[in-house]
Amino acid sequence: MTGRGYLYAVAAHVGFILFWQLMVIVADVPSYILPSPLETIAEITDSSYNWWTHTWVTTLEIFGGYTMAIVVGVALAVLFVWVPGLNASLMPLLVTLNMVPKVAMAPLFIIWFSYGIVPNMIIAFTICFFPIVLTTYRGLVEVEPDLINLVKALKANRWQIFIKIQLPGSLPYLFSGMKVAAILAVAGAVVGEFIASEKGLGNFLLIQQNALNTSAMMMALLLITAIGMALYGFVIALEYIFITRKGIKT
């Protein structure tokens, strides 16, 4: 993004918040329906809500599940490339499993893994690991055939082809998978907390809903968004270092 691009982006965000504040004032919306941005932000000062505990728990679940998804997803994709039979049998199964609505599986996970931070990590993991496997696998196999011919003419072995060509070539694909997965991981962790948990911002949302405490709910939503933004920003930064900086188009 150019300097001007950043300016526009910031302007759009500020504009949105102003519009929100203005709407609440002009339409005179009661605050239990839609609190203003100022009312929402003010909730952060209320220490009885234990913001930091809830935020920390949700952050752990998201980052934990996400990290697991990357490790397992990339490992599986590599395995698929190295063991052709595995790819032929397991890839169709993966595609089918990907069709199962993972959110609807969350209640089952509670039965299998009980509830708490780790089960929610597993839910976040299940929901976000598919895009990682699928994109990484595609990146690993999508190599120019003539490039393979070129290095094979030099008698390159399979390992050299993998390390020097396939693996680095799959990075742009991995990053596109990681961006999708970042959004899914946030959704996965919060859904897990909805279904059964004692802590975390998703759990907090449900409790405040019973009290019709809308502004605290909005604040929780803001915090979840902030966690997601931090994760996404981290991925974008890595992508910049490895991909964008070199002028590689994704």
Binding site: E144, D146, L147, N149, L150, V151, K152, A153, L154, K155, A156, Q160, K164, I165, P168, G169, L171, F242, I243, K246, G247, I248, K249
Partner: protein
Amino acid sequence: MSKMDQEPFVKLEGVKKIFKVGDKEFLAVQDVTLDVREGELVSIVGPSGCGKSTILSILSELHPATEGKVQIGNEMSPFTPGKDIGMVFQKALLLKWRTISDNVLLPAEILGLPIKESRERARDLIEMVGLGKFADAFPQQLSGGMQQRASIARALVHDPRLILMDEPFGALDALTRERMNLELLRIWKESRKTILFVTHGIQEAVFLGSQVAVMTSGPARMAAHFDIDLPEPRTLDVKTTEKFGAYTKEIYHLLGMD
């Protein structure tokens, strides 16, 4: 020994290639006979699907010939498979995540050559192909013609005895292509390599080659050879000579295009 009765560096005799796909057989090319002296630049020209790339893949040991004799190297210049092959394709096929100099270095890495000397050699070659200022740039920052120069440097970095080029300038615009032809002649003279140059362009084939092998399709085979006797060094003026016109006309005729 005079140059003429020296053993050829590349010798193909009655080569035939059949591809088996499932239980079906496809005749890719037949009757391939070719003698290339060391240090010679030979063009192979012919329509799409006549087996040009197949010949190169036989020479680079990607596919074995089904029939016939394939011999590379002679007593004076032994040939080591792998180490002695450099390839250039229509696409530059540079690794997007590597700088130009690291791209040029790739064959040296694969062959496990001493990295320090290879780096120096890569730098000299990048200079020779006119990319000195772009050694640390990424391929995406270069034009198509510049990328192709880099891929030529890459084909030379491990000092192979044989360079195989498969329509290397086929994707370039007409002007860049003419310029690259002249560049190639210069690089060929400087590096003294044996080059097999595959092209669709009859004019290009005659302009570059000291010998042109003409392939025809239906059935795919090597149909004729021309020794090209044109003034050296070849400059663009050569293209306006009567002889040049006569060669190209004859090849057009052979390919049934007049």
